[in-house]
C-alpha cells in the first residue's frame, strides 16, 4: 500500500491519516433496476492496474477523495476531491 498520499487540500501525508472505503462507483438511482443495485452493492472488479477508490482523509481535512491507485505497483497515480463530480447516476 502506498506509504504517502498527496491530498489535494493538505499535501503529502502518510497513509495512516487516510481510511479507505472501496471502489469509487456511482450510486445507482433509487429506482434503478434491481440488478443494477445488486451489482453496485455486491459486485466488484478486481483489476490489475489503475483503480479508483474512495479514501477519506479522516486524520486531516476530512474530505472524501478519489485515489487512483495501481493495484499491482501500489503507485498512487492521482488523488482528487470526490465532491467535485457527481457520484449519483441520473
Amino acid at each position: 500500500m502506498a506509504s504517502l498520499i498527496s491530498c489535494p487540500h493538505c499535501g503529502i501525508r502518510p497513509k495512516e491519516e487516510y481510511a479507505i472505503k472501496g471502489a469509487a462507483l456511482p450510486r445507482p438511482a433509487p429506482d434503478a433496476p434491481r440488478s443494477v443495485w445488486f451489482d453496485h452493492v455486491f459486485l466488484r472488479d478486481n483489476p490489475r492496474g489503475p483503480y479508483e477508490e474512495y479514501w477519506h482523509h479522516a486524520g486531516g481535512c476530512r474530505r472524501w477523495l478519489i485515489v487512483t491507485r495501481d493495484t499491482a505497483t501500489h503507485e498512487v497515480l492521482a488523488c482528487r476531491d470526490a465532491g467535485a463530480e457527481p457520484a449519483v447516476t441520473a
Binding site: 493538505c10 499535501g11 501525508r13 486524520g59 486531516g60 481535512c61 476530512r62 474530505r63 476531491d81
Partner: protein
C-alpha cells in the same frame, strides 16, 4: 425555579490539563487557557468574509481544510459574540469545551513534532494550519512563528496527547517524564 442547594452550588470549570509548562532552553510545552474555540463551516471561496469577522472580534483564524476554520481566543464565553456577526451561509459551532490548546515552542520544535506527524514541517510555513495525526490522534496544528506551533486537540484525547508530547520532547527537556 432552582432549588436553594442548586442555587448555592458553586459551579466550577475543570480544565483538562494542569496549567504547568514544561520547559528547557530548547523546548517548551505549554498548556494554553481554555478560552473560546469556534469551528466555522461555510463556502471556501468566502474566506475573506470569515477573516473580516474574526479580525473584528479579536479571534485568531486558522484554516482546517476547504470551507473549514477554527477561530480561537484566550477569553472564554465569546462564542455568541462571534456567532451573531457571522454572515449568511456560514455555521459556527462552539467547540470551546471540545478542543484544548497546547503550545510547543523552541529551537527543537521541529524535531519533537516530527516524532508525531508525517507533515514536512520545513515546508509548513508560519501562518499555515491543518489537521494531522500526532501519533494516533488527529490534531490541528498551526504554525505561529518559526519556532512556535499551537495544537488543538479534542478534549477526551488532550491528556493523552500531552503525555505523548512529554515523551516526544524528553530528550530535549533532558528528563524522562514517564
Amino acid at each position: 425555579m432552582p432549588d436553594p442547594t442548586a442555587a448555592a452550588f458553586e459551579l466550577t470549570h475543570r480544565p483538562v490539563l494542569v496549567p504547568v509548562a514544561l520547559t528547557s532552553p530548547c523546548i517548551a510545552l505549554l498548556p494554553l487557557p481554555e478560552g473560546t474555540v469556534i469551528q466555522i463551516l461555510g463556502p471556501a471561496a468566502r474566506v475573506e468574509d470569515v477573516c473580516a469577522i474574526t479580525d473584528a472580534t479579536g479571534f485568531s483564524l486558522r484554516g482546517n481544510g476547504p470551507g473549514q476554520w477554527f477561530a480561537v481566543g484566550d477569553e472564554p464565553d465569546k462564542f455568541a459574540e462571534l456567532a451573531a456577526t457571522l454572515p449568511d451561509g456560514f455555521t459556527a459551532i462552539d467547540q470551546s469545551h471540545g478542543r484544548v490548546r497546547i503550545a510547543i515552542e523552541g529551537e527543537s520544535v521541529g524535531e519533537v513534532l516530527a516524532k508525531g506527524t508525517g507533515v514536512d514541517l520545513a515546508l509548513f510555513e508560519t501562518g499555515r494550519a491543518a489537521t494531522t495525526l500526532i501519533g494516533h490522534v488527529a490534531t490541528h496544528l498551526a504554525r505561529i512563528s518559526d519556532d512556535r506551533f499551537e495544537l488543538l486537540v479534542t478534549r477526551s484525547f488532550a491528556e493523552n496527547v500531552w503525555d505523548d508530547l512529554k515523551i516526544m520532547a524528553a530528550e530535549y527537556l533532558g528528563v524522562s517524564h514517564e
